[in-house]
Each structure stands twice: as C-alpha cells, then as structure tokens.
C-alpha cells in the first residue's frame, strides 16, 4: 500500500459517481480545447492562407472588423509600387460565399497579370485568360468536395463560373479557395475601384532590416491603412479578437462548472466518509495529510478527465472542421500552448474544487466523527 491506495480505493468505491465527475471534467477540457483550437484555427487559416499566396506584406484597412470588411482604394496601387524595395503589388478582393449553395468558399479576385497568379501550382487545367468570360481556378480540396473538374460549371456569388484550372496549395484556406479575375468579382460585389487589401512583394533577398524599412515607407505611402505581415494581419482583425474573447469566456465558465462538479462530488464523499476520516484522524493522520487525501482524489479525477478531454477535444475539432458549415473556414489548430493550458486548467480545477470539501474534512473532531455508526 502507498499514498495513492486510499484515494484510488475511495474513487473506485463509487465508480459511477467518479466516472460522471471525470466525464464532466473531460467535457469541459474538450470544450476548451476545441473552442480555443478552432477559433485560433480560423485566424491562423486566414492569416496563413493569405501569407501563402505570395506577398510578403499586406496593406489593409486599419482596424477592420473582419477580413472581408476591409476596403482599400485600388488607385493606391501605383504609389505602393513606387516605394523603394517593393518588387510588385497586387490588389486582392476577398469574399466568403457559398459554392453551388452548398459548401463555404473563399472567393479571391486577382487582377489580370498579377504576380500572385505566378505562385499558383496547377494540378490540372490552366490559368484564366482575358478572353474567358467567367473563369475560376478552384483549390483542389474544394474541387474534390464539389466533385468539379476542369470544364465544369460552379455557381459562385449567384453567377455561373467555368472551372478552367485546379490548383494545389499548402494552406487549408487556399485549398478551399476560388480564384477569379478581380474585375469580375468587383462587378459582382458592386465594389468597383476597391480591393480588400494589397499583397506586396519585396525585392529578394529578404532581410529583416530591409523589410522593416520598406514597411515604414509603405506606411507613409498608405496613410490611414495598416501595413503588416500575415501574422500581424491576423492579429489585427477585430473579428478574430472577438471570437477569441467569446471562446475564452465560454471556456472559463465551463471550467468553473467542472470545478463545481468536483466540489459537489467530494463534498458528498467527505460527508459519507466522515467515519473513515475520523478513523484516520484517530490514527494520528495530521490535518494536512487528510487535506491532501481529498485533494489527491480531486486531482486524480481532474488529471484523468483532462487527458480524456484532450483526446475528445481534438476529435471534436476534427469533426467540426470537416462539417459542412465550417469546412474550408476552420482548420484544427492544436498548439503546445493549448495543450499546456488545458492540462493546467485540469490540474487547477481538481484541487480548487476539492479545497472546500478537504478543509471540511480536516475540521472534523475525531470523537464526533467516530460516534457516527
């Protein structure tokens, strides 16, 4: 027998109660992991996907609420291109729509001859030509999902487009993207002369010093707008901060509920086991030792619940990110930070929930406790 024998026996003595409490913690941790992972995933997906398109810096509307609400005048292009160290710029118009009234799809409009088109790795077909009427290049994942091949028609933004090419990208966003000529998308959205952002490509080779200087000069050339790399861009979008805040709040509430579940379970256990705790006290177990016994019981439930919850959370992220509404917009995003936070949360919830019951246990007068038979 060792220090863990008694807490484990106690938990095993009430298997259903222990199971339900542990499950409660698992669900809380799963909720935390999935919510945090998915919300960070949405941001990561957009920022990473936009960074993956070939630009080094982005010029977008300062503090825009969401990606698609950013608006920059198209006429800004030439003055950005004139900035020293800038190799090329390309306006980009972005919108989220449904494809064939079914899957979510990100539509991106690029100007004819933009350097962005050169970064597209075609799996089949070709790039749009000026003579095409409504051409579209689809990311390979969405093409698969919609079962489209070159020559097929897809309805985007209430307009039938003809698939001229299918492209492979590294990021989930771009795998689910529809690339169309900028002018066509501007027309469909009624946003002539406006783009969402400018992708800026700098002269090679890149070095941090030069990037910093170019960034400053671009900022001067585009007053009122913001110049950022893809990560800063993701962080600046207030919509992302908002969903992150919502996710944190929900996670916090759920974790508090888990701690309460533990408190409730252990309070019941301490009340039931008054006699036993009296025995331990009569054997000379010091109050801290009795406190520790109850805390360890809480800790065991929360650690086991935490591990199960981590697994459940990853599973849930995977399921949600593949489900219709979210597919293409979210990707599961699991960082070591999220895992560490989830485990910490579980490690804290147990003992915090156990604290009051444990304290109650130490307050028992042994003689009183032993009278209860």
């Amino acid at each position: 027998m060792n220090e863990l024998t008694l807490p484990l026996r106690n938990l095993a003595g009430q298997p259903i109660r222990t199971f339900l409490t542990t499950l409660g913690i698992a669900v809380a941790i799963a909720g935390y992991v999935a919510l945090t992972g998915l919300t960070q995933g949405v941001q990561q997906n957009f920022a990473g996907g936009i960074g993956d398109q070939g630009g080094d810096l982005m010029v977008s509307e300062r503090n825009s609420f969401s990606i698609i609400s950013s608006s920059v005048p198209e006429e800004l292009g030439p003055s950005l291109k004139a900035v020293p160290g800038v190799a090329d710029v390309s306006g980009t118009l972005i919108n989220i729509a449904s494809a064939d009234n079914n899957a979510n799809i990100v539509i991106s409009g690029w100007p004819d001859g933009s350097f962005l088109w050169q970064g597209v790795k075609l799996a089949s077909g070709r790039l749009p030509q000026p003579s095409d009427e409504w051409p579209v290049v689809l990311g390979s994942t969405i093409a698969n999902g919609l079962q489209k091949k070159v020559g097929d028609t897809v309805e985007l933004q209430f307009q039938d487009f003809t698939v001229v090419g299918i492209a492979d990208f590294d990021s989930v966003l771009n795998q689910n993207i529809a690339l169309v000529p900028l002018k066509k998308l501007q027309g469909l959205l009624g946003r002539e002369d406006s783009v969402t952002l400018f992708q800026v490509r700098l002269d090679r080779p890149l070095d941090p010093q030069k990037v910093a200087v170019a960034k400053e000069d671009l900022q001067k050339a585009a007053p009122g707008n913001q110049v950022s790399d893809s990560e800063e861009f993701g962080n600046s979008i207030r919509f992302f901060s908002l969903i992150r805040a919502i996710a944190s709040t929900v996670s916090l509430v759920v974790m508090a509920m888990a701690a309460l579940a533990i408190a409730n379970t252990l309070l019941m256990a301490v009340t039931e086991r008054t006699f036993e705790i009296g025995i331990l006290a009569s054997l000379g177990w010091r109050p801290v030792r009795i406190l520790r016994l109850i805390l360890v019981e809480g800790l065991i439930m929360s650690v086991v619940g935490g591990i199960i919850g981590l697994g459940l959370g990853i599973l849930a992220m995977d399921v949600v990110s593949k489900a219709g509404v979210a597919a293409g917009l979210m990707e599961p995003y699991l960082t070591s930070g999220i895992i560490v936070e989830a485990i910490l949360a579980a490690l804290l919830a147990g003992p915090i929930g156990a604290l009051y019951p444990a304290w109650r246990a130490t307050r028992l007068v042994p003689a009183e406790a032993l009278r209860r038979t």
Binding site: L6, G284, W285, R286, P287, P366, T373
Partner: protein
C-alpha cells in the same frame, strides 16, 4: 520517570454547558500499567477516554503526555501517531481496505518504505493468528477477527499506550476472552500501558487498577498509579 499521561481537573461539556459529560476528573496513568474504567452507561467513560488521547478537546483543565501539556488537533495527531494505539467496540476499520492495508494505513508517513510497512503488517497480523486473512476486507471477517486486525493496527507504531473502549462489547464470550488475553498479554510482555473502558467485571478484574465513574466523576478507585509507578520507574 513521571506518569505517561495525566488528566488534570478535566471537564467536558456539550451543547453549550447543558450536558456535562465529564464534570471534574483528575487521573494519571503510569508507563506500563493497566487501568480499567467502569461505571454505568452515560457516566462519561468514553468521553474520558477520548480526552485522554486528544480525540476530543476538554472544555476545562488540561491533558499532559509525558509531563507536557498537549493542545490542539495537530499536536495530538503527532502524539497519537507515535505513541497511542486504539481499539474500539465497533472496530473502526476502513471498509475499502484489506486487513493488511488497514494495518499499513497507520504506518503511512511514520515508517518509510512500502515494503517495510507491508512486512510489519504481515508479521503483526500473523502473530495474531490472521496470517490467512491478510487480503480480506473487514466485511469478510468475523467480529473477533476484525478486533484482532484493529489490535494489529494499534500496535503498528509500537505505542506506549493502548486505549480500548469496550473492546469486547460486540463479541461473543469466546472471542472476548481471546481479545482480552491478547491485550493483557501485550501489557504484561511489552510493558505497554493499557486503559480499557468496560462494562464487564471479569474484564475489569484482569487490570491492575479499577476506576469507577458516576455522573462524570471518579467515585471509586485510586486516581494515580503510585505503586505501579515505582515499579515502572525502577525499570
């Protein structure tokens, strides 16, 4: 050597003074002696026993262990863990633990090393005739067997004092005799002091000193064990 344990004008009230379980008791127990506390039901015997080992705190007066006054649950826990063993009428075993584990639990934090604790538990239980019952939980044991597990547990930390509250109260005559033989044998052979509360004249007669309580006071019997103390002190 002074007395092992002393109660000095100890009083214990309940319900804010409405119940006086122990009115005024002074009593000392010497190293190695055996004392029986007898008296009618409700006379305060169990309460005195609880005060004697800090399971309960007095409303007045003080309790000294080896000459030093002991105050508060933490200090008493230390004294009990190192020096006092218990045997109760209702055995007080932990139902989720086996016989062996019930003995080991008293040694946790006192004797380092799980193997050492296990070895000691097995040897104690075996010496009490429970070598075949080590891995059974209390529910599977007879009353006499349970009480022997409790005695093994009481002995685990080599106490200087064993307190027993009606240790034979829940047992048939034969088991009761066996338990008393073990307890008095221990007191005789290892010079462990024994304080035993009992209704049973025969049990009381096996002890070196008899104290009778009525209405929370000692009415009969020497409150100190002088004679024994001299013998004990000479050792």
């Amino acid at each position: 050597m002074g007395p092992l344990i002393e109660l000095v004008h100890v009083r214990r009230e309940f319900d804010g003074g409405r119940i006086v379980a122990v009115a005024d008791v002074s009593l000392s127990v010497e190293h190695g002696e055996s004392v029986a506390i007898i008296g009618p039901s409700g006379s305060g015997k169990s309460t005195v026993l609880n005060l004697l080992c800090g399971l309960d705190q007095p409303s007045g007066g003080e309790v000294r262990f080896e000459g030093k006054a002991v105050h508060g649950p933490r200090a008493w826990a230390e004294v009990r863990a190192d020096h006092i063993g218990f045997v109760f009428q209702n055995f007080c075993l932990i139902p989720t633990l086996t016989a062996k584990e019930n003995v080991e639990v008293a040694m946790l934090g006192r004797i380092a090393g799980a193997a050492k604790r296990a070895e000691r538990a097995v040897s104690l239980l075996t010496s009490l005739g429970l070598g075949e019952r080590l891995h059974l939980k209390p529910m599977k044991l007879s009353g006499g067997e349970r009480q022997r597990v409790a005695i093994a547990r009481a002995l685990a930390n080599e106490p200087r004092l064993i307190v027993a509250d009606e240790p034979t109260g829940a047992l048939d005559r034969k088991s009761a005799h066996a338990i008393m033989d073990i307890l008095t044998g221990l007191q005789r052979d290892t010079r462990t002091a024994l304080v035993i509360v009992t209704h049973d004249r025969e049990v009381a007669d096996t002890c070196g000193r008899k104290i009778e309580m009525v209405d929370g006071r000692i009415v009969n019997g020497p409150a100190t064990g002088i004679v024994h103390a001299v013998a004990g002190g000479a050792r």
